[in-house]
């Protein structure tokens, strides 16, 4: 009813606006009223009309800042003030980026951090999901406990871990010393390799429940018939895992891995609160370097160029994993 009445109103409006008089001249629109109506009634156009508010919001909230960052990355801007003169375009920031050892160090640290955190989160998450997919007493409680780290606010979690990892008064060193595993305390925060291990450990602890949730949902969607048919064909547990479970979870795995890679790649809170990117830049990822250059050294243009490179790397990773997720399971 409403649609028909709406169409009539639109026709009425279109008929009114079919020609416009300016002084003595009458301008006729290029398209006639009927053509406009047909255009507006098209399902595709209607869909885009509905999407317009969302698209406009995206343009303001996402696209404008990204384009601004790209613009700033090509200019010599130290402290960015809205409306201030930005100077001419230049490649100086990118030239400096490629020439700075700190940047390549940050790339290396970022890659190592992402690989360690994602691989271990995936393995632990997958193993836990397989366990929680079995029937056993207290399964609901176990599922709830496993997801707990995910729900703890990052700053709270990191402060708790800071207390555990404190080199002089931390619980971890105390336990390891009592057990005789180490002879002297390890500087978890203040030595380069242990510091990277420490931030990775906290990231894995925060990140693996996401894999558990995603993969558990995926496991529950695999039809039991496939396992029954496999059993009839003589497939053992390992073969069923390899030929049924893994292919069935490919899409979920790719999606969960993509989201975790992106999350870890831009992770800031855990590293900043735990080590501040130190010691000696041992945990300074691209995200930390961007922040430091922008808000500690106040080289906004240079920081924006690091941000643009980070965006490019994230885009490449996204395309790769989205393609993997798109492959169907037969």
């Amino acid at each position: 009813m409403t649609g028909a009445r709406g169409s009539k109103d639109l026709r009425h409006l279109s008929a009114q606006s079919a020609s416009v008089s300016i002084g003595e001249q009458t301008l006729r629109p290029v398209l006639g009223a009927r053509t406009w109506m047909r255009f507006l009634r098209s399902p595709v156009v209607f869909a885009y009309l509905l999407l317009t508010p969302a698209i406009l919001t995206m343009v303001v909230v996402v696209l404008y800042p990204v384009l601004s960052a790209i613009d700033i990355s090509f200019r010599r801007v130290d402290i960015y003030s809205p409306g201030a003169s930005r100077g001419p375009w230049t490649l100086a920031n990118y030239a400096r980026l490629l020439d700075t050892t700190g940047f390549w160090q940050a790339v290396r640290v970022s890659v190592a951090y992402v690989v360690i955190a994602v691989v271990f989160s995936l393995l632990i998450g997958f193993g836990t999901a397989l366990l929680l997919n079995q029937r056993f007493r207290g399964r609901t409680l176990a599922r709830m406990l496993v997801v707990l780290p995910w729900s703890v606010p990052p700053v709270v979690a990191v402060n708790v871990w800071w207390w555990i990892l404190d080199p002089s008064f931390g619980m971890l060193n105390w336990v390891l010393l009592q057990l005789g595993v180490i002879a002297k305390p390890i500087n978890w925060i203040a030595s380069p390799t242990p510091a990277l291990a420490a931030v990775s450990l906290v990231t894995i602890w925060k990140g693996y429940p996401f894999f558990v949730v995603m993969l558990l949902a995926g496991l529950q969607a695999v039809p039991q018939d496939l396992y029954d048919a496999g059993a009839v064909d003589g497939a053992g547990r390992l073969a069923a895992f390899q030929h049924i479970t893994l292919p069935a979870l490919r899409g979920v795995l790719a999606l969960a891995t993509l989201l975790t890679v992106l999350w870890v790649f831009r992770e800031f809170t855990i590293i900043w609160v735990l080590t501040g990117g130190g010691p000696v830049r041992a945990t300074e990822t691209l995200a930390i370097m961007t922040y430091r250059e922008a808000f500690a050294n106040f080289r906004m243009g240079f920081a924006a160029s690091i941000g643009v490179v980070t965006l490019l790397i994230s885009t490449v990773a996204s395309v790769f994993f989205i393609r993997q997720a798109g492959k169907e399971f037969h």
């Binding site: 402290i79 003030s81 002089s168 203040a190 130190g278 000696v280 830049r281 500690a296």
Partner: protein
Amino acid sequence: MKSVLTRLLVLCLVIGALSVQGAAAPREIVLRFPSWQQDEPGVSGWWKEQIAAFERARPGVRIEFTKVPLAEHTDKLIAQFAAGQPPQIVHVPAQTFFPFADRGWLEPLDRYLEETDVKKTYHPLQAKECIWKGTTYCVLMLNYGYAWVYNEKILKAAGKSVPRNVEEYIDALKSMTDAKNGQYGIGIVTLPGFNMVAHISVFVYGAGGRWTDDRGNPSVTMPQVAQGFRWWKEVVLAATPIGQESGRLRQLLMEGKVASYNDGPWMQGFALRANPDVKPHLRAAPLPFQATMGGPSNVVAIPKAISDDEKRLVWEFIKSGTTKEAQVRYSVAVGAPAPRQDITIPADMRKDLPFFDVYVDAARRAVSWVPFGLETKANEFIRLVSEHAQRMIVRNEPVERVLQDLQRELEALKRQ
């Protein structure tokens, strides 16, 4: 229909009443005042008294005194200035004041200062620290010198007495350390940042070194700087819990897990909060070096970007802290001499400040550790010194080699 009309009527009445109330209420002026001293023992009480008196005398004006941790304070202020939204009352550590003055973000104060006797009565650092390119932009809040605050009970248990030279000092710190049982001779900040460089400066300036020479060029390859770093490295590796920041280290001193701490006069306020079994044993002694690190501590200023009315109000607030009476109370609150030189602290007001005389002497002997020549790049200077110093302790790299790298980086920073 009737119900809807009734509701609309009620809504209109409520909105109308609120509008009338809003129109009748006088507009409140809020002056934002972010500071790391908002909850600092001693000095925060002085600020709160000043604010209360100011607000009493000016109904409708409110000062919003909020806490920002020292480590984040300067960065946040710079971001606020860049966005054109600075707080009305600008309070910054002296070491990071110059970037604000250099960017033209601060209101020149010379014509305001004519209303006071600050230029005649304040410590010479007021002229040295607050003038940038011939114009005064700030008012000095405190000049200070560092002292050694120690736990006498732990020192005596280690069989040591108050050190009279560097060798005795380092020996005492090592003797008071029992790392396996969580006991350390001294707390030294080893996390990068302002406090880490301040703690390094104790040793560097103590050895006679300077961050920059008389012409403002980096001078970290001078032998005295290397000597200072060697002492610092020896103490850090042997007698301090690694990876701690200043707040935590002060707390460890209050709990008796750290036997001593190098700090400014504000330490007295913290000492009053120590555990009951530790508090009676806390003492202060001069640092046993040839020079005492210190200088200007913090300053207040007015941003250029606020209205003239607000500038006048902020100036009235700053001015109220420069009077003799306010400076006497300030001196007692911080436990050290106030910048105003023509005041004396009555004996009865000093009786609760056991470290006062030590800090008066320290302030008198102090050498400023502001890196003149690099003062407008204070943030990067602090980052570079922190990072290079960390190399000496986490990678055990030789002091001289690291200092050569640091010299190169500081020279490049100066050229930028």
